[in-house]
């Protein structure tokens, strides 16, 4: 344990002995990681928007014109007690006509109608927003008596979800590619370190250092570099989001809305750090496995 710590101490000193090249490496890794991380944050935000708008969708349930008032009351009760339904609003035929008159500017035309062509309507707010649940609910309600038509406006949500799915696949590809580049960067850094410390490795082997003792500083270095690279990526994304939100605030004022992009959650940030540290360790491990074998005392 104390050996581990003293080796870690040496690793840290070596890292900061060449601050410029170490920090450049960290920056390169940080930038590489910030691309998929940024895309991930945008997707998370888009997902949030979809959930806010589309996943609080509503079903419009139109009753037949001859439905009587007591039947309406019964239906309302039945809908309210349904386990998949959160709440129900009732819009009577008269209210609907009134809304149409005022909202459409067609007051004169509508006023000239002999009788009200609009049905009584329930606006149903379901509990869950998933497309399947909505469709199941729609199909169930369709079979009820007195319901003329059940309308579910989920097409745009479905299209957006498909788009998000596509973006998620792209994100995975991008992340895999940049993870590979992180491993490659670390592999090369460690290769150069092994070359410059050749004498030390030879001496260490000659005086009985175990291979884990010899490998450890390099693995620590790779892990550290990956970790700091992940931290840099987090910092880059956080800064970018703050700047974006500043300009979004101006935009939002114009449109009278208050929309901001959410930051990377702490849990996701920690996942990022763990992932980048692991990749750094992996690159170092591959490099060490490849290059240390060739160095033997003679």
């Amino acid at each position: 344990m104390s050996q581990f710590l003293s080796q870690l101490n040496g690793t840290l000193r070596r890292f900061f002995a060449t601050p410029v090249s170490s920090l450049l490496n960290v920056l390169v890794i940080g930038i590489a990681l910030s691309l998929p991380t940024g895309l991930y944050v945008l997707l998370q935000n888009a997902q949030g928007i979809i959930e806010r708008f589309a996943a609080a969708p509503q079903l419009s349930v139109f009753l037949t014109l001859d439905t009587k008032a007591d039947e309406v009351a019964q239906l309302r009760k039945r809908l309210e007690q349904h386990s998949a339904i959160a709440s129900v609003e009732f819009v009577s035929r008269a209210q609907a006509l009134e809304q149409l008159k005022q909202g459409s500017g067609l007051g004169d035309v509508i006023g000239g109608l002999e009788h009200n062509p609009l049905p009584d309507t329930f606006i149903v707010h379901p509990k869950t927003g998933s497309v399947q649940a909505l469709e199941a609910l729609r199909d169930e309600l369709k079979s009820w008596r007195r319901l003329e038509r059940v309308q579910l406006d989920s097409d745009w949500a479905r299209r957006l979800e498909a788009l998000l799915d596509f973006a998620r696949t792209a994100l995975l590809l991008l992340a895999a590619l940049l993870a590979l580049s992180l491993v490659a960067i670390t592999f090369n850094t460690i290769r150069l370190q092994i070359l410059t410390r050749r004498d030390e490795i030879e001496v260490a082997k000659l005086i009985g250092a175990s291979s884990s003792f010899i490998r450890r500083p390099f693995l620590q270095f790779g892990l550290l570099q990956g970790l700091l690279g992940g931290l840099a990526a987090w910092g880059i994304i956080a800064t970018a989001l703050i700047l974006l939100n500043l300009s979004l605030a101006d935009l939002a004022r114009l449109y009278d809305s208050s929309f901001i992009l959410n930051q990377l959650s702490p849990a996701d940030g920690c996942t990022l750090l763990a992932f980048s540290a692991f990749l750094g360790w992996l690159g170092a491990w591959m490099s060490v496995t490849q290059h240390l074998r060739k160095i033997e005392p003679r």
């Binding site: 104390s2 000659l206 009985g208 175990s210 291979s211």
Partner: protein
Amino acid sequence: MIRFDHVSKRYPGGHPALSDVSFDIAEGEMVFLTGHSGAGKSTLLKLIAAIERPNGGSVLVNGQNVGALKPAAIPYLRRNLGLIFQGQKLLFDRNVFDNVLLPLQICGFNHRESAQRVRAALDKVGLLNREKINPIALSGGEQQRLCIARAIVNRPSILLADEPTANLDAEYAGEIMNIFRAFHQVGSTLLISTHDESLIRQGDARTISLKHGELAA
């Protein structure tokens, strides 16, 4: 302690460097290994430290067949050996003290005990007041003594030295031989190769002579 049993060694594409060499070195013995240049002295020492492996016969150290050791077991063999080899490397990225500290770090000694042992080793080779400087600033003889300090710091039971006095003037060479004699007196086993016969005092120690890779009588 060290036993060679019909050992032969041939480097790839060369004539035999050692052929049919057998001898025994008992615990606490000090033995000189002599022979002309190219006789196979370095090769013999490398076989003991598992830097090279024999092509035939067996090399036993403490009853262990060194030629058959798994790579993972070699470090533990070497921790019992103090190696002072030709063209040995000092590390010029650290000072004298840290060069000698390295074997102790590898064995995982704690700080306080390490520092004591390093100073004791430096004291034995007369470099105690130079611990803070970089070894590049040491003379050839001082560098050689630093190598000895590094080899003895973890108190190995066996010390192997390959021409430890090469390129040194007689005065330095004598000093270094005195260090070895002191080490011998506290019970260590020593095998020292040299082609400078004048270093070997009469009756001082046994001599094993090599000639073209074979034991000379």
